[in-house]
Structures are given as C-alpha cells and as structure tokens.
C-alpha cells in the first residue's frame, strides 16, 4: 500500500495556556481531496501551518510526503495557500509569481502558466494591490500551483470568491486530483466540502472529532412519512414494524429505516387504514452531521 501523503500523530500546538491544536492525528491519502472542516478558530490553519513547517508543534509529529514538514525536499513538492495570500503589493501578479518561481529555482515562464490556470492571464501585469479579494485569492492558488506540486494545501481557497469563482475553484481542484495531485483543503463551508471532498476530518476546539468519508459522516439514511392520522401512523410503524419514529417538521414523521423498506412501510400503513400522503428517503446533510458532532463536542475553554 502506498504511504499516505500526510500523517500526523497527536500533533499539538500550545500558545501559553491556550491549546490551539490538541493531539490531532489525521491521514491524507494519495490522490484524494481531503476536507479539513471546522468552525473559525477551530485550529485548522494552525494545523496546516505546522504541516508546512511555518509553526513548530509543541508535541506530536507529522510526516508530509515521507519527510519532515518544512524540509526543503518536501516543500519543493508542496504548493500552499495559507490564510491571506501574502504578496508584494507593489509588484504585478506576474512579477509576484516570478519572485516565487525564482525561490523555487523554476524558470520565470511558469508564472504565466500558473496565471492562466486561475484565469488571471489578462490581469497579470496589474499591481497586486489593485486586485479584488477574489483575484488575490486566485493569485494565491496560482502561487500554490507553481512547479506542479504533488500535494496542495489550500486554506479556505474559496474565501472572497463570488459563486462563479467558487465553482471555478472547485472545478480546478477536481482537475488537479484528476491529474494525480493530492489536495488538502480546509473550509468552514460545508456545502463546498460535501461537493468536492473524498474524505473529511472534522475539527472543533483544536480536537479532531472524526475522520471519514462524506457518506459515512452523513450516516444512515431515514424515511420521511406524511400520513393521517399521524399519531396512528406513528404507532403502526413503531409497534407494527419495530422502527424508531420521531416527529418531523410540518407534522410528518421521521423513521429510522433504510429506503429499501419503503414498500413495507406503505403496505403496513395502508393495511392499518392510515391515509399515506408521502413517503420519501431523507439523508442528513453534512451540515446536520457537523452540527450534531460539534454540539456534542462544542468549543470549550481550553485554558
């Protein structure tokens, strides 16, 4: 089996009494889009900064592409956008990328290629300070793409982008993984993560709450039943079929049952003289799963 691209073992960062990241152990596999999900201030950025060698962990260890975070040979194969894109405001977007390309010992021409990839080719000669928030963000992603790195670490890459820009960014990220690159992206936008990520790690108050596929995180599917009289319907399903039932928005019922059992539920209700108006499968959104998890393990004082 191939070695994971990123592995952390009880990675911890403490600032005085404040624990920013608390024993986070995560694994990013080759070729996947890994979503690092958590509310603002959960410790996402600090974790990413540790993976890039910008911040030293207080405890724990991390391996990135088989090496130590921040090691030259590792960073040469990593492209990163962490927090706000940091560029020289007086230089054009193109010159900013040329400066970074020189740091990477790459030819200046890679700057133009990267600009094209993020649709900034037409504005490449304008000064960075004249860019909109979305353009700055795209230039940040362009910088991360320099040298076609094996691993891209993108911290909130759709920050500041309009809906069209966000869709473009998602397409770009997918295209990169199609080319074999691995993407670790942090986000607080659940819809975004649900749409593009293969696996997610959920972090809150510095702790990694879970790590799984999006489907697993959303959990089992349920049935929503609207029937009259509703009390009788609940009894029939609970007693007759032995399935747990909960009230659902607007006078319906939520039944913990796989959608495969729909015919059986309908048959039982109709036989019992209940009028059935609607039976449909229902899936938890990632948002519901996320809130269920973070409410249980919500932010705490970490002092």
């Amino acid at each position: 089996m191939q070695e994971p691209v990123v592995v952390t073992e009880r990675l911890t960062k403490r600032y005085g009494h404040q624990v920013a990241v608390d024993a986070v152990s995560l694994t990013v596999r080759r070729g996947e889009i890994y979503g690092f999900l958590g509310p603002n201030g959960a410790g996402k950025t600090t974790t990413l900064r540790m993976l890039l060698g910008l911040v030293r962990p207080t405890r724990g260890r991390a391996r990135v592409l088989g090496g130590r975070p921040g090691e030259r040979s590792v960073l040469r194969r990593v492209g990163a956008l962490v927090e706000d894109p940091g560029f020289y405001p007086y230089l054009s977007g193109r010159d900013n990328l040329r400066v970074l390309a020189r740091y990477r010992r790459l030819p200046d021409t890679v700057a133009d290629q990267a600009l094209e990839q993020v649709d900034l080719g037409g504005r490449g000669r304008d000064r960075f300070r004249s860019y909109s928030l979305g353009m700055k963000q795209r230039l940040g992603v362009a910088a991360a793409l320099l040298g076609e790195p094996d691993l891209l670490i993108l911290d909130e890459p759709t920050n500041g982008l309009d809906p069209a820009g966000m869709a473009d960014m998602r397409r770009l990220v997918r295209r990169l993984t199609d080319q074999g690159q691995t993407v670790l992206l942090s986000s607080h936008l659940l819809g975004e993560v649900q749409q593009i990520c293969d696996r997610v790690g959920v972090i809150a108050a510095g702790r990694l709450l879970t790590e799984s596929t999006v489907a697993d995180l959303r959990g089992t599917r349920t049935l929503v039943v609207r029937a009259e009289p509703v009390a009788r319907a609940g009894e029939v399903i609970e007693i007759g079929l032995g399935l747990p039932v909960r009230p659902f928005d607007g006078g319906g019922l939520q039944v913990d049952a796989d959608p495969d059992r729909t015919p059986e539920v309908v048959r039982t209700l109709v036989t019992a003289g209940v009028d059935v108006h609607e039976v449909r499968p229902s899936e938890r959104t990632l948002e519901e799963a996320f809130f269920a998890m973070t409410e249980d393990n919500g932010p705490e004082e970490t002092t």
Binding site: L54, P85, Y88, R102, R105, L146
Partner: protein
C-alpha cells in the same frame, strides 16, 4: 541561495522605495557635498577668506570625492539605508510574504541570506552611483569655477568605496535586524531612526559630562561609522563644510573592524531569529 538572491533582487529593484531612497541619497549628497560648498566657496572668495575658500575647494575637488561620498553616510545616508533594510525585512511580516517565501522551499537562512545579498547588491549600486554622480558634480563645478581637476588615486577611490560600503552595510544590517525583531516596518524604522539620529548623539553629548560613559559611546555603531568617514578624509561636523556624525574618536582600522563586527552580530541575530521563530 542563488534562487533566493535572484528572487530578492527582482522584488527589490522593482520596489519604488529602493529608488526613492537611492534618489534621496544622491540628491542629499550633491546638495550638501557640492551645491552648499560651492555657495560657501563663492562667499568666501568674495569676502576674501582665502583659507576657507581653499578648504572648501579641496572638498569640492574630484580628489575629495572619496571623503565627500563617505562623510554623509554615518548619519543621513546610514539612516536612509537603515530604513530601506528595515522596511524590506519588516514588511515581509506585514505583507505575509515571508510566510509565502518559506512555503516555497528555501531554508530560512537561505531566504534571509538572499535578502541580505540582494540588499548588498543594492548598496553597491548606490555607492557606485554616488561615486559617479559625485565625480561628475565635482568636475562640473571645478570646470565652471575654472579650477584644475585633481583626480583621486585608485587607492583613494577604493578606500572611499570600501568605507562607504562598510558604513552603509553596517546600518543596513542593523535595519534588517530591527525589521525582523519588530516583525514589522514601522516600529523597526522608527526605532532605528531615533537611534541613528538622536540617541547616539545624545549619548555622546552626555559622555562629555559623565566620563564613565565614554568607553561605551566611543564604541557605538555611529561612532565607528563616523570615525571611519573621518579616517577617509571626512570633515567633522564642527568644522566648516563638515558633516554631522563624522567624528575623530577611533582610528580607521579600529573603526573598520568594529563596523564589521557590528554588521556580523546584527546579521547573526537576525538570521537566528528568522530561522528559529514561528512564521
């Protein structure tokens, strides 16, 4: 480190601040080194003060270029390059560009070394430009005044260029260190300027009253810079046509050694902090 140097050179040479500092320095140099001295010389001639006229003419003459070029550096020129260096390292924190640079792969010391090397190239450029401009200004003034042109020897020119680079380099290292210590441009440039322009002068003034302070003030960075300028022929601020900051406290070799020591210490502190601290 070559990649880092090329990268830093690109961003420094395209930075308006670099050109503003260079332009201001050249303008100050010409104004204080030639325009005011020429006016003073003409006054001295018309008032019949032959001694002063001869002194000023010697300073304006091409042979005086090494001294003229160097004597502005201990104070004003030093302050300018200190600001340039402080904002070039300090802004890296304000703009978050150090973070971006560090994620590109260069070891932090290579990135720092690249910045210092690029700053050194800029300083060489400034000093060479000063030399050319000063020689041209001197030749123009002397010709206009119908005076014979006496050129400096190669040795004197080398001494002037070397001295100017050493003084400017020491102040640039101090500025770069302050930018990294303060993690920002404003505080570092402000503190550096107060030190160069005010604190050292005050300390030297106080040491006149408190003899115990003298061993300290005699070895301050500005004292070393001023002493080296004087050793190259710079005229002290108390004399006519002299420059503030030029002092005759240390010998040339002692001043040069001390300046080198300061520059090395400043760079070591800056490099250590950059390599060790979280970015």
């Amino acid at each position: 480190m070559i990649g880092s140097v090329r990268a830093e050179l690109l961003r420094l040479t395209r930075w308006p601040v670099t050109w503003v500092v260079t332009g201001v320095w050249l303008a100050l140099n010409v104004m204080f080194g030639y325009v005011f001295d020429l006016l003073g010389y003409r006054d001295a001639v018309s008032s019949g003060d032959r001694r002063l006229a001869a002194e000023l003419l010697a300073q304006i003459s091409p042979a005086g270029v090494p001294a003229t070029m160097t004597q502005g550096l201990p104070l004003f020129g030093g302050a300018l390059v200190l600001v340039l260096a402080a904002v070039s390292t300090g802004n890296g924190y304000g703009w978050n560009t150090w973070k971006t640079v560090f994620t590109q792969g260069p070891p932090r010391l290579a990135a720092f070394g690249g910045t210092m090397a690029a700053l050194a190239v800029v300083l060489v450029g400034i000093v060479v430009l000063s030399l050319v401009v000063d020689l041209a200004a001197s030749a123009v003034v002397m010709t206009a005044e119908s005076q014979a042109l006496t050129w400096p020897t190669i040795g004197e020119l080398a001494e002037g260029v070397g001295g100017a680079l050493l003084i400017a380099g020491m102040w640039a290292a101090a500025g770069a260190m302050l930018g990294i210590v303060a993690k920002g441009p404003a505080l570092s440039a402000g503190l550096g300027l107060i030190w160069v322009l005010v604190v050292e002068n005050l300390l030297r003034g106080v040491s006149g009253l408190l003899g115990a302070l003298e061993p300290v003030t005699d070895y301050l960075p500005g004292t070393a810079a001023g002493s080296l300028a004087a050793a190259i022929g710079g005229v002290t601020g108390s004399e006519s046509g002299g420059a503030p900051g030029v002092v005759t406290i240390l010998t040339g070799p002692s001043a040069a050694t001390l300046l080198t020591g300061y520059a090395v210490v400043f760079m070591l502190v800056a490099g250590f902090l950059m390599a060790r601290r979280d970015a």
